[in-house]
Symmetry: C2
Subunit: 411 residues, 2 copies
Amino acid sequence: MKNRIHFNVCEREEAEKARLFSRIEEERLHIGYYNLPEQNIDNILEYTAHFNGETENIVVLGIGGSSLGSKAIYEFLKPVKTPKRKLYFFESTDPLNIMEILSKIDLEKSHFLIISKSGTTVETISIFKYLYNIQNSPSNYTFITDEASPLDKFAQEIGSKTFYLPANVGGRFSVLSVVGLLPLALCGVDIKELLSGADKVKESFFNDGYLKESLLNKAIFYAKYHTTYNINCLFAYSETLRYFSEWYVQLWGESLGKKQCNSAFHVGVTPIGLIGPKDQHSFLQLIVEGTRDKSITFIKIEDFQNELTVPDVKLPHLESLDILNGITFHDLITMQSDSVIEALQLQGDIPLDEIIIERVSEECIGQLIYYYELLTSLVGQLINVNTYNQPGVESGKIILKEKLKKNSLNK
Amino acid sequence: MKNRIHFNVCEREEAEKARLFSRIEEERLHIGYYNLPEQNIDNILEYTAHFNGETENIVVLGIGGSSLGSKAIYEFLKPVKTPKRKLYFFESTDPLNIMEILSKIDLEKSHFLIISKSGTTVETISIFKYLYNIQNSPSNYTFITDEASPLDKFAQEIGSKTFYLPANVGGRFSVLSVVGLLPLALCGVDIKELLSGADKVKESFFNDGYLKESLLNKAIFYAKYHTTYNINCLFAYSETLRYFSEWYVQLWGESLGKKQCNSAFHVGVTPIGLIGPKDQHSFLQLIVEGTRDKSITFIKIEDFQNELTVPDVKLPHLESLDILNGITFHDLITMQSDSVIEALQLQGDIPLDEIIIERVSEECIGQLIYYYELLTSLVGQLINVNTYNQPGVESGKIILKEKLKKNSLNK
């Protein structure tokens, strides 16, 4: 993994960087996600080994941090590695969506993972009630929740297996815990490689490797100019990263969109996930000519390990496009991203950087995930927010519970 | 379709609204999309009638304005109306994505629509070359392009059918032209109903109907505060609107992200598409507690016409969620959106409005499309940009062509 920064990071003072680094080292003592790369995963691998060919589908009931991470990794790897089992997600109360997913899966050949940190997530439990009413064999369910949550107690009561979220790991930072690892391992993803990728970035950052400087510089720039560049775009040149960008949007938005600690001031940089080259034909115009309120990170895949080639076909009247003949699509998409980066550099006033991952593999996505988690923590420290809570979503939940109570009494 | 505006539109002066309205009436004389609802579609229906059961798939090669609109409508309707044929899109040069789509479709049972306004879109032509090299029967292809474009001339030469884009209709405003209508009609979508929905909004706006006031007020507010609320979120409470939100992002971003006419000033309001309830667990925290730089439009479906219900199941330790028992998922998702709207209203400083469409139908999505096209034109007039061009994407294209030329010479 490489990170090329094209904006002027202004030679930050060493003292500023050292201060930030030491605050993160301190955070690492009590925030759980930092040390997930070196966790023991024997229990997950043992449990996974018990499943046989009769289980064709893994069905996750979960929303937000309980689904976005495993979906990102599963969809990233799917085009290059046929999954051992298919992974499905129920993550909406939209009845049409529930019916559509139900129509696709054979419930008899499915194992269900019910994932809810609190154990009382409305979306997850409402769909669980629906499924459990049809299929109520405890061995078809595995639960992932906080220890002693209502869902844990329920699982104990019916005798299903439960895994616990590790201490001090919030939902959106939980993809490298059992929340992401169990569904992925069941689908044949090499979770050791995934963690080993994350560990490389961790080591690089905490032990003076090459990513330390670029992460610190980038975070300081983003934080310093967060009111100027109040939008951060991730522009990934591969369809395989589509769900990674949804994961990033939650991580970034929910972690950094806050009232500042000890202040009533609202802060936050808005995340936007873009996919190239598609969004060259949608969002690029706004980047080039619109308000200068965006920083952009391009993500490129160094080697698609794929030789699909535009054939050497000359078409009458389309001679101007003969320059495409014989090029691999891999080279074409790389030239497309490079051309857009060069065009944006010519503008001169848009902060750009590039992340290059080697290929579509477990190790590479593990790196990318840990890189973004670190960057989020760094920016959170600098803009003075609590990166790990989400108090803003509570009032909507309370209003909903009141509405549900009223509705339930009126029956 | 209803539109409830919850922010203070400040009793705009009648003169200001009248001025804006007359500028749009003037624009309507030369911008083509305004009058698409009353176009004659006999040629499309006749052509569609020639297809028989042997064609099982319709495969669109197109990107941006050539694909986002038909995809939005197809995916919106799919859960309630089984498509007559399946619709696939090649819209990326990502080799893994191309391979994945190829693995899903039987080319022998497919008809291909090659859609490119200019006729020289790199993504579209590169994939076309690949497919045409495998399957080169002219009767399997239909072309949609500008008259006399290189692609038109090529189609004439091989004897394939060509449809032309109507005059003065840009890509992102073309969904209600043959660009969207042909693929949709081939998949069994009732395109008359689609246009009739659009026509209702058109009539309501241009003939003093109920939407005129709210559209004018909303546009004036967005324009007046476009530097304060530099982000516009569309928060749609149904998974069926997922691709509609991608269509909206192109429409809004590419139309309004511009240098102002006769000025070097960069303007633009950044569009973000959100889907509820999923994004309550991702983006909502940022809306509630983050910087006050966003206006939000909620889209709700009045009647999902679906009775899927949470069963009356009591689960030990989960008694607090018995309030869910017996509720339809339709009512649940509606209560969820209402709860979030109420919670945001309590904040008091976030401009909110709601659009309520009746149901999942051709007519309703036609209304929504025309509503957003009008709103875009109105805001474009007020912030003084050319809503219908996209000069910012050219320099990247030129750099790419140079790279391709160089690459082609080096072989």
